[in-house]
Every structure is written in structure tokens, then in C-alpha cells.
């Protein structure tokens, strides 16, 4: 399919955040249509569309919905994840600002499909402005009985709450999000039990990304067959690509999955300022593996294509670095971020992320030795896979991929002359 796509999530319609405008452009007709279907038919439609989660894990959305128990003595909940804290990611914010009703409608469709009685939307605390816009949209939808009791005479009831976080990257992790919603520190939970069995307040819960839910009305209105033909067949649909760093026109671009990475950089984001060469690209937010400038040709932006080149689509947040970038400093900044954001539950992550930052810093200060490169890799390898949640992996992956691809950056900054004797080494974090 050509990369020219009608904009479905962020169409160029002024004042679309107002319910009258949204209704005039077909808003809430998908909800009406879904309420006329059986819940399992709605799930089936989403399943067949091949919609996959937009929060980074790319899990099939319809399948996730089908995990929710049909009968439950306890209430069931939907948590919409709008925590959006992964560096390089700024897409949900666009939905809240320009098309909040699309997301609200999608969440209501999901709630109906799973027999959910309350939707909690978790939005990062810093998004004060966008929380107000979203709350405005929710209030409008309540007033028109799209939310509340006996929605449009269907007999379906649902409540909708907008929840403000308070500054913690980890709360974008689904189980940390639930703990935060319960009023606790954002500590991720061990799985199993999975949220569909034991979620927030001990009740069956589904957690979906805001962008994922915004796709639901489109699928219901246009049908799974139409939707599944957009973009990459195994991960179809429009996707909000955020591009930042060294490009002329940074911003969010709605494009079909499978679009060429070089097209996003050159055609949409206007290329690199000064016509400079690209040194490195982070394709999907700070936790994804780096690509070298020489590796970009032919790379398509969808889950499977990026997996094939050893990285992932993550949140679709592309960060471009030109040839003059001190990439080691960027890596250290990433390591600092994960060190700062580690919740502190698991030793490999809590201690290891600090070590990553420190060891990279040695090279920036001209104190690192060649042996420190192996030490860095050793620490990263001992974090990966050894923690409750994926934050540890997210800290390890950029470092691992950097050493693989930019080892020379360490070597040329390594200390000349004898190695500094350091009596204290980080302990091996895991005994096999």
C-alpha cells in the first residue's frame, strides 16, 4: 500500500476536541454500532483486524481482550495507559489535544466488549494541560450519555475516570500503573497472576495504550478487512511516529506501519539540518536498540521488520543523531535516565543502572580502560532478564547495542597508558 493515507487518528479538522465537531464527523457512531453487536463480536472484529498494542510490546489487542473472564463475581476494569514517559515519545499527547473523543470512544467500545464497568485513564502528571482537555471531553460525553448509566438506551453502564500521575516513568509499566492507581508507590508486580485474572484492586483488568484504544472506533466503523489492509500485514493500521533530534521538521506523523524509516526522516521530517550525515538512529524510544547511520536503507517501521534488524518499534519515537553528535554523552544520558527511574525493587536494576551510568562516565572523563568496556557489557547482561519488569531490559538494550555498533567510540576515548587499579568492582549480580 502506498504511504499516502487518509489521516484517521489525527485528521486535520479544527476544533475536533469539541463533541459537536466530533459528532459531525461521524463521532460516536462506532460506539453505537458496537452496542448493537454482541460483545464477543466486537472482540472478534478487533482480533481479525490484527491490531497490535501501540505501547511498545505489540501484543495483539483482540487476544488481550479475550483473556478477560466472561463471568466475574468482581467488577472488571479497563486502565488506559497515557503515562507516555519514554524519552522520544510524544504521541498520546497529540491524541489528547486534537482528538480526545476518538480515544474516549475507543475505550468505551473496549469496555463494552469486555463487560467493564469503569475505565481509569492514567495520564502522566506533567500533562496538566492535556488532562484538562481530556477531562473536558469526558464531561461532554457524560452530558450526552455516551458515558454513564444505560448508555444510549442500551442497558450498558460505564464510568470514566481521568487519573493524574505524579512523575514516575515506571508507572507506564502496566502493573506499576495499577499499584499507582491503588495509591501506592509505582512498584511493578510479579506475573503471574496476570492482570486479566488479578489486576487493579484484585479485579480482572485490561491495560491498553491510549493510541491502541483510539484505533478501535476506526476498526468498528470501517470493518476489520479494510483496516487490516493498511500498512504492514502483520501489524496493520496507522501509527503515530514521533520524530525528534537532528531533523528539520520534528513532530508527530501519522503514517501506515511499514513505512520506510528513511522516508520518515527525509520526506516527512525534512532531513538532517545542514545536510549532515546521520550517525545513529534510535527507532522506537530510548529503550530500543540503536541503528547505525549506515544501516538505515530499506528499514521498514513495523514490529517484524525492525525485529529482523535487531531492534524494535517500541513506541514509534524516532530519535535522529547527526554525524557530529557525541553519542557517548547521549548513551550516558540514557543510562542516567534509567538509573533515576529504576523503582529500586530488584537489585540488578537498582544497582546495575547506576553502574552503567558510572562506567560510561569514566570514558567521558577519559578515565575508562579497555577492560571497562567488557565490564559495562557484563553489567548490562546481568541486568537483562533478571528483573520483575522490563525497565531493566530497557536500560540494558541501548548499552548492549551501542557496544556492538559503536565500540570504537569507547576505544578512542579509553585511557592511554596503564590501567587504573580499582580495588572495588561491581559484584556479579547473578549466580547461574
Amino acid at each position: 500500500m502506498a504511504d499516502v493515507l487518509e489521516k484517521l487518528i489525527l485528521p486535520d479538522i479544527p476544533d475536533l476536541h469539541k463533541i459537536e465537531v466530533y459528532e459531525r464527523h461521524g463521532g460516536y457512531t462506532a460506539l453505537k454500532k458496537a452496542l448493537g453487536m454482541k460483545p464477543e463480536e466486537v472482540i472478534d472484529e478487533v482480533k481479525k483486524s490484527n491490531l497490535r498494542g501501540r505501547g511498545g510490546a505489540c501484543f495483539p489487542t483482540g487476544l488481550k481482550w479475550s483473556f478477560m473472564p466472561k463471568q466475574s463475581a468482581k467488577p472488571k476494569y479497563l486502565c488506559a495507559n497515557g503515562d507516555e514517559s519514554e524519552p522520544g515519545t510524544f504521541k498520546d499527547r497529540q491524541i489528547f489535544e486534537f482528538n480526545p473523543h476518538l480515544f474516549v470512544e475507543g475505550a468505551l467500545i473496549a469496555a463494552y466488549a469486555m463487560g467493564i464497568t469503569a475505565v481509569y485513564t492514567y495520564v502522566r502528571g506533567e500533562y496538566a494541560k492535556w488532562i484538562r482537555i481530556l477531562q473536558g471531553a469526558v464531561d461532554e460525553a457524560y452530558a450526552k450519555n455516551y458515558i454513564g448509566a444505560n448508555i444510549m438506551g442500551s442497558g450498558f453502564n460505564v464510568e470514566f475516570v481521568v487519573y493524574r500521575g505524579a512523575g514516575a516513568y515506571i508507572c507506564g509499566e502496566e502493573s506499576a500503573l495499577m499499584n499507582s492507581l491503588e495509591g501506592d508507590r509505582g512498584y511493578p508486580r510479579i506475573k503471574p497472576p496476570f492482570p486479566a485474572a488479578v489486576g487493579v484492586w484484585g479485579c480482572p483488568t485490561t491495560i491498553n495504550n491510549v493510541e491502541t484504544l483510539a484505533n478501535a472506533p476506526i476498526i468498528i466503523n470501517r470493518g476489520w478487512e479494510w483496516y487490516s489492509k493498511i500498512g504492514a500485514p502483520k501489524q496493520p493500521g496507522p501509527l503515530l511516529f514521533g520524530i525528534s533530534g537532528h531533523v528539520n521538521k520534528p513532530g508527530v506523523y501519522e503514517l501506515p506501519t511499514g513505512v520506510l524509516l528513511t522516508d520518515i526522516i527525509e520526506k516527512y521530517a525534512g532531513g538532517v539540518p545542514g545536510g549532515k550525515k546521520i550517525k545513529a538512529v534510535i527507532p522506537g524510544g530510548s529503550s530500543t536498540m540503536w541503528l547505525k547511520g549506515s544501516e538505515l536503507d530499506g528499514v521498514k517501521m513495523d514490529a517484524d521488520s525492525l525485529k529482523a534488524v535487531g531492534t524494535s518499534i517500541g513506541t514509534g519515537g524516532i530519535i535522529v543523531m547527526d554525524e557530529d553528535t557525541d553519542v557517548l554523552k547521549v548513551l550516558q544520558r540514557i543510562a542516567h535516565f534509567y538509573h533515576h527511574e529504576s523503582c529500586g525493587q530488584c537489585t540488578p536494576c537498582r544497582e546495575g543502572c547506576g553502574w552503567l551510568e558510572k562506567i560510561i562516565g569514566r570514558f567521558i572523563d577519559g578515565e575508562g580502560t579497555l577492560g571497562d568496556i567488557d565490564l559495562l557489557l557484563d553489567v548490562a547482561n546481568n541486568i537483562e532478564g533478571n528483573t520483575i519488569c522490563a525497565l531493566g531490559d530497557a536500560a540494558a538494550w541501548p548499552v548492549q547495542s551501542f557496544i556492538k555498533k559503536f565500540r570504537n567510540e569507547f576505544e578512542k576515548r579509553a585511557r592511554k597508558g596503564p590501567a587504573i587499579h580499582r580495588p572495588v568492582h561491581p559484584p556479579h549480580l547473578v549466580t547461574p
Binding site: 493524574r164 491503588e182 509505582g186
Partner: protein, 159 residues
């Protein structure tokens, strides 16, 4: 010392919030937000007050307040400048911008100016990567696509 107490409006809001969540503990974050807005920062006395309101141990409130970065555990200047220095901003000059602001105000990071006007903080990614570099002020307004000239103009407007 007079213990802090919610005003009428916040007490009303608190009653409303109770209806939205199945447990009282779930109100911890929303109530702390209300407290910060009314009292400016979360002092130990505010923590005690919130704990009493929610029927929870003070240690729980303390744990939550210190876990999340947006709750102020000490007073801040009237304008809390929260400058993003994460990678997308870093690539577009946020380190220089941060140094410039500190130098202009004559403060170290996290310090408040003597006239109590400004506190400067280095913060993590604020989801404004397409309009970098940027800062947020008082957990509210975003100032985007900044340059040293632009930030100078913004600061001189702030009383």
C-alpha cells in the same frame, strides 16, 4: 504551629473523589495533588493531615510523596523552572540552556533564588521531544522550542 487543613472547595472535591474509587487509599495521589496546590509543598504536617484524612499511616504517605518526583518536599520559588535535559532535548541544546538559566539566576540546580522568585530543576523527558528544548513551569505550562534569547524573555516576564 497550626496544622494544615483543606479549604471548603478541596473538602468538597475530596467527597466527590470518594465516589470514583473503590478504596480510600486510591485517593492518595489525587489528595496529595490537592494538598500541593493549596499549601504549595508537602510538609511533614501536610503528610500527617493527608494520612489522617485517608486513614492511612503517615509512613505510607511519606513513601508515596518521596517516590514521585512531582511532589515538592520542600518549598520552591514562585516559578519552579523544570528544564528537560533528556536526549531529544539534549540533542537540541538543553545542556547549554540549563547552564544559561542557572548562570543568569546565579543558582545551582535545585536551588532557589534569594528573592524567592525562581527554583531551577533538571527534569526527565516531558514528552515534548518534537518541540525541544523545553521547560515546564510549576508542573503546569509548557514553554517549547526554547533558545537562550527566548528563555531570557520568558524569565523577565515572570514576576
Amino acid at each position: 504551629m497550626i496544622m494544615p487543613v483543606f479549604n471548603e472547595e478541596n473538602l468538597k472535591k475530596f467527597e466527590q473523589l470518594k465516589k470514583q474509587y473503590p478504596t480510600l487509599k486510591s485517593l492518595t495521589l489525587p489528595v496529595l495533588w490537592m494538598a500541593q496546590e493549596q499549601f504549595g509543598w508537602i510538609s511533614p504536617d501536610v503528610m500527617k493531615y493527608v494520612a489522617g484524612l485517608l486513614n492511612l499511616p503517615v509512613s505510607h504517605i511519606y513513601g508515596v510523596v518521596t517516590f514521585y518526583t512531582m511532589y515538592n518536599t520542600k518549598p520552591r520559588g514562585r516559578h519552579h523552572l523544570q528544564i528537560c535535559t533528556n536526549i531529544s532535548c539534549q540533542l537540541r541544546g538543553s545542556d547549554d540552556l540549563f547552564d544559561h538559566v542557572c548562570k543568569r539566576l546565579g543558582v545551582e540546580p535545585e536551588e532557589t533564588t534569594a528573592d524567592n522568585r525562581f527554583t531551577v530543576s533538571r527534569v526527565e523527558c516531558l514528552g515534548s521531544c518534537g518541540t525541544a528544548p523545553m521547560m515546564q513551569v510549576n508542573n503546569e505550562d509548557y514553554y517549547e522550542n526554547l533558545s537562550t534569547e527566548k528563555v531570557d524573555a520568558i524569565l523577565s516576564e515572570m514576576k
